[in-house]
Symmetry: C2
């Protein structure tokens, strides 16, 4: 029976509740990875729990209250009591980061905050660990899912800002009061944190210039399409003339830009550095389960020094035959009935045609190219063997897999 | 003066030489982050150095020899001697991983290998740390830069496989003997490692089904364009029917797929899990400096337990005025000479027009929309103020930034 690791939870809103559930679901696996079983030892909300009692009874504090006070006070007291802290509080870190980080160093505890920026996209860990000694030149980020969702809606449907915002609210991507998101302030707090880590210089929210998306019109989007541009709310932190610039504003991107294709409520961050050219990280932005997953990753990291690779926990069979969609190209006689026969042979093996192109080529032949819906590879190749033997098929049929039909627009 | 941390370097090829240089360039910054200054204490190549002497004189061993033996023997002996090991050797890990990882656990040392998969793209760290307790459902990866470069060339230029391979060799993206890459074997070794970490089940290279790109024709590419598909060499590791499937083969992707736009020698990995939906990580694939950067990140992590955020090292000025390109939209009188006057006013402020669209709208007016080359924002807004005062300009001119002209195709 693994020893228990006691996690005190401050705050029990969307993220807090998702975190508590995820922790209990994954406790077994975590015990395997870390040798210690985590459990929530106490929960503090406005109506229940006592901070001092929870603190005394915890090995680590998870702060998901948000806002400056009392979160700041609790986090400082926890660290002074020698407890590690995991927080997803971007406003707190962007406003009082140096105070918190110096307290962590002084008391030799960890303060982790992956959940504060870009949800489950592991940009904090990558900046602090993978790129710990890299010379970062620039960061570009789409770090607010609400505004990216609204802009994506506007671009897709030619809708107005107001209509897209209403839709985002309806689907739960925007709050009833969306000001913090659409003004760019939320993104600005996140960019302050990223700039601090990337450039090792103090940066606070009040130093970040930001502009929101409230003034963007459907007409801007339409004209921009003429230039091949996509509009995003972009956070930038970069070195300029011996200083740095940290800012958030709507910006058009050319199609080749790695952030141009980040759509909906997704977040993404691009880190540029001479040694690495650039890394792009993308994934779902803050949402209850995603942020909870980032918080849990931090909790696990705080529980143990970096582990060697744990023993395998299972011995799963490695399967050879799976379902795939296929592209199938054949050279056939250019005669009536050939396509029907091909479809019949495919159908016998359970293969159904999704789309097809037929073009005449010299010598009374046609090139028949199709995409086949997913089926077991063994059955598909069975059909191909049958087809290859048909007198109206010339040369070997060519088959190439097609990935993930679900991504079709 | 910081204490010294001695790094023994095995192998001095492209990556080894790049690593040695990067370590010396970044030693100062690393000493700040870790409190300890790393230095190369010995180098082993075919012609110089003695393994036992280097081992005795090192705190950590970096293995960049490649291949199975003698790399396996050296890595095992280093760990048995209580030294941490950082390796970029995918073949060794995909073939003898369990032996190495169990030796690391037994001797309580770290074995890190970020550089073995996807160069600087931090997929190993994300799987082992951020997603340590996540239930991963599927991984898709473009994990071989050579083949992705060749396929990108074929798609862009309509070139044959042979011509694209020759071009990759000319530019140094493919070896003189490209068999390991184009056959899919290199990608298969990487997928074996990712599958092992994601599913916590033993997977070795010989269990991975792989198919290369040698048989892909320019004609496949051309027909695929009719279906809107992009061809990539895709590694897949996924759960199927209580087992797992690990395989590498060419596959077409629909345009919405996160890997469809990964071009040239870039690598990218998508990790899918219920809790997180999906994360995509992308960046330059293995190259000397990129792999060296991944190796250095591992060395730094091995040097210290996860640090609290280090003190800031500098106090950089936060700059407000930077250069940007702009989209500028105005409603103007639809008369001759207006565009010339606009251009003149812009020119006075140093703003030059990159592209322009003018369309008539009702009431004798025109909508004039343009993209302006980058200039200091203060100068651009100066021009906008001048324009707003002109009698032929109606309503407020609308300005939105355009990011990164360099990404224009």
């Amino acid at each position: 029976m693994a020893e228990t690791y006691r996690v005190g939870l401050l705050g029990h809103g969307t993220v807090g509740a998702a975190f508590e559930q995820l922790l209990s679901e994954r406790a077994e696996q975590i015990a395997h990875v870390t040798g210690v079983r985590p459990e929530v030892s106490g929960v503090l909300t406005r109506s229940r729990g006592d901070f001092d009692a929870i603190l005394a009874d915890s090995d680590l504090i998870v702060e998901l209250i948000g806002g400056i006070e009392p979160a700041r006070d609790y986090v400082l007291r926890a660290m002074r009591a020698g407890k590690h802290v995991v927080s997803a509080n971007k406003l707190l870190l962007a406003s009082h980061g140096e105070e918190l980080w110096s307290t962590a160093r002084e008391h030799n505890v960890q303060l982790r905050f992956e959940g504060a920026v870009a949800g489950v996209v592991p940009v904090i860990r990558v900046l602090q660990e993978s790129l710990a000694a890299a010379h970062v030149d620039r960061i570009h980020g789409i770090v607010n899912g609400t505004t990216n969702f609204i802009l994506t809606e506007m671009a897709r449907g030619g809708t107005s800002y107001e209509a897209a915002l209403a839709r985002a609210q309806e689907l739960g991507y925007a709050e009833a009061d969306p000001a913090g998101d659409v003004s760019g302030e939320d993104a600005a707090a996140k960019m302050a944190i990223l700039a601090r880590l990337a450039f090792s210089t103090p940066v606070t929210l009040d130093q970040v210039i930001y502009e929101g998306i409230e003034h963007i019109t459907g007409e801007d989007m339409a004209y921009a399409r003429d230039f091949g541009l996509a509009l995003k709310l972009i956070g930038t932190a970069e070195r300029v003339n011996g200083g740095i610039s940290v800012r958030v504003h709507p910006a058009f991107l050319y199609p080749g830009h790695p952030l141009a294709s980040v759509n909906g409520s997704f977040n993404a961050v691009t880190v540029e550095s001479d040694a690495i050219t650039e890394i792009t990280l993308s994934g779902p932005g803050a949402g209850g389960p995603q942020t909870a997953s980032a918080v849990l990753g931090d909790v696990i990291s705080a529980m143990i020094p970096p582990a060697s690779t744990p023993e395998t926990t299972q011995s799963l069979p490695v399967v050879a035959d799976v379902k795939s969609a296929f592209y199938l190209a054949m050279e056939v006689d250019d005669e009536p009935g050939v396509l029907a026969q091909v479809a019949e042979i495919l159908g016998m093996q359970g293969a159904s045609i999704k789309s097809v192109v037929q073009r005449g080529i010299p010598a009374g032949r046609a090139r028949l190219v199709m995409v086949i819906h997913p089926l077991l590879e063994s059955r598909f190749y069975g059909a191909v063997q049958l087809l290859a033997r048909m007198p109206f098929v010339h040369a070997e049929p060519r088959a190439i897999r097609v990935l993930d039909e679900e991504f079709t627009d």
